[in-house]
């Protein structure tokens, strides 16, 4: 433990390069998942169409997607013989972003749908009485659900940050290129280099705690200021 703390305290370049890459990959995946998942969730909440129930069931089921299966599917899609092989993304940070985004997009979409649908059932009659148009309706719902949506994004970020199975398959855990915190912890533990593994574990735990504290703060702030 002392070695791990020393490693963090000394600002070990290798360790912080891994942390930096982890943050870049996870933040990118979270933004990508939000860009796809939030409109998809809002669409499923507000638009009646054939197959809507099936979409909701699929989104809910995919919240528990096994990371290794996601990794395998993305691997097959990005491998040389796959449909997107020519892009040359396999074993790059971009592939890791895609895998994490695929993993958390259903979480973001399903939770967004629930939040927007609940709010819509509350607002529906007032909006009908005010003759609020479709665009104004969607933007008002998303705005009024903003704090819940931020919490959803933080939940997605936390899920992606803690992920190891998918990114190790599509990233390859290449030193200095695709090695992130979780994959490094797995590797260094197996090699017996516990100082680095524990140091990264501490940082990862701190990150998860910070994300949860942020989510809690957002909730408290919204209760106080926007009710």
């Amino acid at each position: 433990m002392a070695d791990a703390v020393h490693l963090i305290w000394s600002g070990d370049a290798n360790l912080f390069a891994i942390v930096r890459l982890s943050l870049v990959v996870t933040l990118s995946a979270t933004v990508l998942a939000a860009l796809v998942g939030m409109p998809l969730g809002a669409f499923a909440a507000l638009v009646q169409f054939r197959g809507r129930e099936a979409l909701v069931v699929i989104l809910n089921a995919f919240m528990g997607l096994p990371p290794v299966v996601v990794g395998l599917v993305v691997f097959l899609l990005l491998s040389r013989s796959g449909p997107f092989g020519e892009l040359g993304l396999l074993f790059t940070p971009a592939a890791m972003v895609i895998a994490q985004a695929v993993l958390i997009t259903p979480i973001v979409a399903a939770l967004t749908r629930q939040v927007v649908e609940d709010l819509w059932s509350e607002y529906r009659e007032e909006f009908q009485a005010m003759q609020v148009g479709p665009l104004a309706r969607v933007s008002a719902l998303l705005w009024d659900a903003r704090f819940s949506l931020v919490t959803i994004m933080l939940a997605g970020f936390g899920r992606a940050a803690a992920e190891v199975g998918a990114v190790i398959i599509v990233g390859g855990n290449i030193d200095g290129f695709t090695r992130v915190m979780t994959t490094t912890i797995a590797l260094e533990t197996s090699k017996g280099n516990l100082a680095l593994a524990v140091g990264l574990g501490l940082i990862l735990m701190s990150l998860v705690m910070t994300v949860n504290a942020l989510a809690w703060s957002v909730r408290r702030w919204s209760e106080k200021h926007a009710a």
Binding site: A129, A136, D144, S222, A227
Partner: protein, 238 residues
Amino acid sequence: MRDSTSDLPIRLEAVSVRAGTVDILQNVSLEIGRGAPTLLLGPNGSGKSTLLKLGMRLIAPSTGRISFGERSAASTRRSAIVFQKPVMLRRSAAANIVFALSAAGRPADAAAVAHLLAQVGLSGLADRPARQLSGGEQQRLALARALARAPEVLFLDEPTASLDPAATKAVEDIIVRIAGEGVKVVMATHDLGQARRLAGDIVFLVGGRVLERGASPQFFASPSTDGARRFLAGDLVF
């Protein structure tokens, strides 16, 4: 000659509303024109709220016909409604007004917002989150939102049902003022005292049927139906 831009008179001809196998309104024929407030009086479940929603075009009759002056059903409504438990948007009181003004296609400038808040006595609470206002304040804010539509007809669904006397008085004062400015108020209540204070005429409903219709003084002085007499005597009518 009729005003082709007016929602009035609202005319119901043999209107029924059915939900599944339950008749909520049965064969209601009624005309609501300009003038003093019309109060829909009756016990819970008598169809008052459904009648208001019909007038607001939030629901359609199962059978019968309803017309609004000379206007087509597709035209923009000149009516507004305040529900018994209005839903406040998760934003400030002023932002709720801005939203209502924008939805009504009216300029949502600071002066318009301030004017509406002043009309309902909430000028000092413009920046307060709407959901943190008291029940009475929320009802007044809901009234301001409704007034943002510059309505010709204002439907009110028991707006003081859960308010204390002081808050009720504040809301009633606003209603009286609005009615005095020429807005047709159509309001549901089961509060006899309130009906006496506010009504120009009364529509008395029981079990989805209009039992009696008449000017307020006559209704209270000499009701013509046994149901109304019993209701006024404090009997449980349903």
